[in-house]
């Protein structure tokens, strides 16, 4: 039997704020257990939440970045359940009037632009963590309690494990580029639950959906989806019905375990949060949250495509926030954008890995890449030498010309002069252009000389000699 999988996601992302959502404890990761707690985030009797405006701004920013409509009046609510890491016995969350609703998000999967609906984005607090100790006892670390989260709920519009993976990766990049979250998967600052249901191909009726919890990586999400589709297929093929239930994914064992069925589902007893007045979102708040939201990656992809960047280079650039921002610094001032892209995803990327530094830690600038790309395209610099120059610049900075000069070092002016004379003789049209005052004729002639010298001359020296010779022509 053929089935179509219908998949929806609930993505939790920690917001990149300085402090927690309702108190002034630092929002950081790691450190001594219970070193970033106070009476408010541990829910001590008598304490009240006071909302961190930065968190609301970032959550709004996320809503705008995912194309949501904004609820101009938005309210927090309480979601009740007992768990040792939940200090108040309820989580402050949102339900009826989340900050954002009815959004949509375009992403690229398998070279195609796809669009998935965003049902809502809401603001809520994280819980603490249970720490199972070696002595068999369980301790509670409340450092994470009260860290601001957004939950992004998608429409059930994804259809395969690969699509889930591509979507999650695109969401991660969007959150990173907008500065909403630092998306550190290994620190759990981006997590997701997956809902999977199947239907017979071509039929409209959906089977009950199964929710999968405890997914910590994108590859884990893909594996969980694949596994769940398979499990449900088997059940349906055997003529049984898939039951609505919540299952816990174990990525190590590659299996899921039943957590609760529909019958044992928890009633969260949602209630409006009386301690926090409703947020009234005005134009000013919207502007502050969204005036500088960067373009979408789908748009970026189109822009790069128009600039002649190959699909492979586009994908690699877009997947790396720093690199694509760096590349955007090149694209605006370069005639040879595709060469710049090639340099960045190729030599630059491998040098950064080798030196174990990030782009911003290195001394490279977009201007350097533009110059080197021009030299390569004009034929005056070989690719091997380009990498040597990049390596020097990355560590020491300086100018491309000097780095190139150090590399070549033909110190004998006579050799250069000889070359210059030959080039002038071979290029009467360029010389004529120069006499008419066309400056780029000099660039062209310099390039020709460099090529002839295999890039081993000092560019400044070469230019001086060339100009002298050209003036002598008069």
């Amino acid at each position: 039997m053929n089935y179509e999988a219908i998949i929806g996601l609930e993505i939790h992302a920690e917001l990149k704020t300085r402090t927690k959502l309702f108190c002034s404890c630092k929002n950081e990761f790691g450190g001594e257990p219970n070193s970033r707690i106070c009476p408010v985030c541990t829910g001590q009797p008598g304490t009240l939440p006071y909302v961190n405006g930065e968190a609301v701004r970032l959550a709004l920013r996320a809503c705008l970045a995912f194309g949501c409509e904004i609820n101009r009046t938005s309210k927090q609510c309480r979601k009740h359940y007992f768990y040792p890491d939940l200090p108040k016995g309820y989580q402050i969350s949102q339900r009826e009037t989340p900050l954002g609703i009815s959004g949509c998000f375009e992403f690229i999967s398998d070279g195609q632009v796809k669009c998935v609906g965003i049902e809502q984005i809401h603001l809520e607090e994280d819980a603490g963590k249970l720490v199972h100790r070696s002595d068999g006892k369980t301790a509670i670390d409340y450092n994470r309690a009260g860290v601001p989260l957004i939950e992004i709920v998608t429409s059930p519009e994804l259809h395969s494990a690969q699509e889930v993976r591509d979507f999650l990766e695109s969401v991660r990049l969007r959150l990173l580029r907008t500065g909403v979250s630092d998306c550190r998967m290994e620190q759990g600052s981006l997590r997701c639950d997956v809902n999977v249901s199947l239907r017979r191909a071509g039929e409209a009726v959906l089977n009950d959906r199964v929710e999968m919890k405890n997914i910590n990586t994108f590859s884990g999400a893909a594996r969980a989806v694949e596994h769940e589709i398979e499990r449900q297929c088997k059940i349906l093929d055997s003529g049984e019905a898939v039951l609505a239930e919540t299952r816990k994914w174990d990525d190590e064992k590659r299996e899921s375990r039943l957590m609760r069925t529909k019958e044992t589902a928890v009633d969260y007893k949602f209630m409006p949060e009386p301690d926090i007045p409703a947020y009234v979102i005005d134009e000013k708040a919207l502007t502050e949250a969204g005036y500088d939201i960067p373009e979408s990656d789908v748009h970026r992809n189109i822009r790069y495509e128009k600039a002649g960047i190959s699909r492979n280079d586009r994908e690699r650039l877009i997947a790396d926030v720093d690199m694509s921002d760096f590349f955007d610094g090149c694209i605006s001032s370069s005639q040879n954008a595709s060469e710049c892209a090639k340099l960045i995803v190729g030599d630059v990327a491998s040098l950064l890995t080798r030196e174990n530094v990030t782009l911003s830690q290195s001394r490279l600038t977009p201007g350097m890449i533009v110059e080197i790309a021009d030299l390569i395209v004009s034929g005056s610099l070989g690719r091997g030498n380009a990498k040597v120059i990049l390596s020097k610049l990355l560590k020491n900075g300086g100018s491309v010309a000097n780095a190139a000069a150090e590399l070549m070092s033909i110190d004998d002016d006579a050799v250069i002069e000889e070359t210059v004379k030959v080039i002038i003789a071979d290029n009467p049209k360029a010389v004529a252009d120069y006499k008419k005052g066309k400056e780029n004729a000099v660039t062209y002639l310099t390039g020709q000389c460099m090529r002839s010298l295999r890039g081993r001359a000092n560019a400044e020296r070469l230019k001086t000699i060339l100009l002298n010779e050209l003036k002598g022509e008069n």
Partner: protein, 454 residues
């Protein structure tokens, strides 16, 4: 020192004029507590410690704090076994404000468990007695607050009022009980019972003292997002210029003696030149039920944190057993009802309907106060009950309305019954009109005194 009549104003003046030092006041009051409190049992914790010579508007003024309000390093029990031994790691906003004005905080007073009760007979720790006459109930839930003032063991008390919890015990003990506009005083550090109804309240001997303390405690506090600045400046209004609402309907079920006292208040006001309209807000069963639904729902939510892990954990029991054993019956009843109204299948019918009713009542109340300055009513339509006859009475018939709509209300003694127990009148006014309400109450007290009514 006459402990039975001493007021905040008097002590503040004596200390500022250096007729007495705050150290001497402190010594006298702690001695008084040692001597008297074994009879009345108003304090759970007495905070006797040497302090330097304080300064401020309340320098040396002895004030007690209800034991559901946090004080750093001090036991805070809510008179519940659930919080036995719990020491708060921080100060409530009101404690900070009082301390910064030099007040002498005498200790933490008894209450009905988690502030749930009207009579002061629901503490899980011990029974507080009414200093006016120990055979009568002290009123609740701020039972110890009222008893500590009435017993001369401090001159003012900070309590909390969710449905009358400051006004009722003040009335039963012959004092003035003031519940300000919701949000006028920060709730930060007040252990929540029903967050949207809970209000810090003040028990004093008279409205003048209530005004003085309000001027210290009022004001927006960033730690309580529902707080805001409510004017507490001077408000001069003559009794002859006020327009008040009064309805005989409110006296239909009242004991005769009570009705007489309240009618005399009305007549005195009319004689002073005030005008009266026949309107009332009280006795609406639908809104009283809605109040109960919301109060219990919020209580259920607020008390969810007591799961035996961080508090009450010494019992070594699981969540359910801990709650079963350490919460009192009344608390459990309210939690159970709250769970019922919050259940998914009941939410619309109960919680949502109650919230809608509240919106309606707030509008109705606002409209009434477009016409009048205050509503005059009994505080309670029966006389102070004894231990044996309390259960049949409903003490909060006239008090919940102010909490439901967020209005300020004050109870002052207006007379005595045949057993010489106090009978009180309640004045309620528009939200934010606390200064006006206190001014009217102050003048009415003076008039009643002049007329020999009290």
């Amino acid at each position: 020192m006459n402990f039975d009549t001493m007021t905040v104003g008097q002590i503040a003046r004596m200390v500022s004029e250096k007729k007495i030092s705050s150290g001497e006041v402190s010594k006298m009051y702690f001695e008084r507590i040692r001597k008297e409190d074994k009879n009345f049992r108003s304090y759970i914790t007495v905070c006797e410690e040497e302090k330097g010579e304080p300064s401020g508007r309340l320098a040396g003024v002895p004030i007690s704090i209800k034991d559901n309000i946090c004080m750093k390093g001090t036991l805070t029990t809510c008179a519940s076994r659930m919080l036995e031994g719990y020491v708060s790691p921080y100060n409530a906003h009101v404690v900070d404000r009082l301390s910064s004005e030099g007040a002498l905080i005498t200790g933490k007073t008894n209450l009905d468990e988690f502030a749930m009760g009207s009579f002061g007979d629901n503490s899980a720790l011990f029974q507080t007695k009414n200093p006016v006459n120990v055979n009568y109930l002290p009123g609740g839930s701020s039972s110890g607050a009222a008893a500590s003032v009435a017993g001369g063991m401090c001159v003012a008390a900070i309590g909390s009022d969710t449905g009358g919890s400051v006004r009722i015990p003040a009335a039963f003990c012959g004092l003035c009980g003031f519940k300000p506009t919701y949000g006028a005083i920060s709730r930060f550090g007040l252990i929540a019972y029903a967050s949207s109804l809970d209000t810090i309240g003040i028990v004093t001997r008279n409205a003048t003292d209530a005004k003085l303390l309000s001027s210290v405690l009022f004001g927006k506090d960033e730690r309580d997002m529902t707080s805001y600045d409510v004017n507490i400046g001077e408000c001069e209004i003559a009794l002859g210029d006020i327009r008040f609402a009064f309805s005989d309907k409110d006296l239909e079920d009242a004991e005769t003696e009570i009705a007489e006292v309240i009618c005399r208040v009305r007549d005195l006001l009319l004689r002073a030149g005030a005008s009266c309209v026949d309107k009332t807000l009280f006795g609406n069963a639908k809104s009283d039920n809605a109040y109960r639904v919301l109060a219990c729902a919020e209580a259920t939510s607020n008390l969810a944190r007591y799961d035996g892990i961080r508090y009450g954990g010494k019992s070594g029991l699981d969540v359910l057993r801990t709650r079963e054993e350490l919460f009192g019956e009344e608390v459990k009843r309210r939690i159970e009802y709250g769970n019922f109204v919050l259940a998914k299948e009941n939410f619309e019918k109960y919680f949502k309907a109650a919230a809608d009713e509240r919106t309606r009542v707030i509008k109705e109340t606002e409209m009434l106060f477009e016409d009048v300055d205050v509503i005059i009513s009994p505080l309670c339509d029966f006389s102070v009950p004894t231990y044996s006859n309390a259960s049949s009475c409903r003490a909060d018939r006239f008090t919940v309305a102010a909490n439901f709509a967020g209005n300020p209300a004050i109870s002052i003694t207006a007379g005595r019954d045949k057993n010489n127990m106090p009978v009180s009148v309640q004045l309620m006014s528009a939200r934010g009109c606390d200064a006006k309400l206190l001014s009217i109450a102050e003048k009415l007290e003076q008039l009643l005194l002049k007329e020999g009514a009290v």
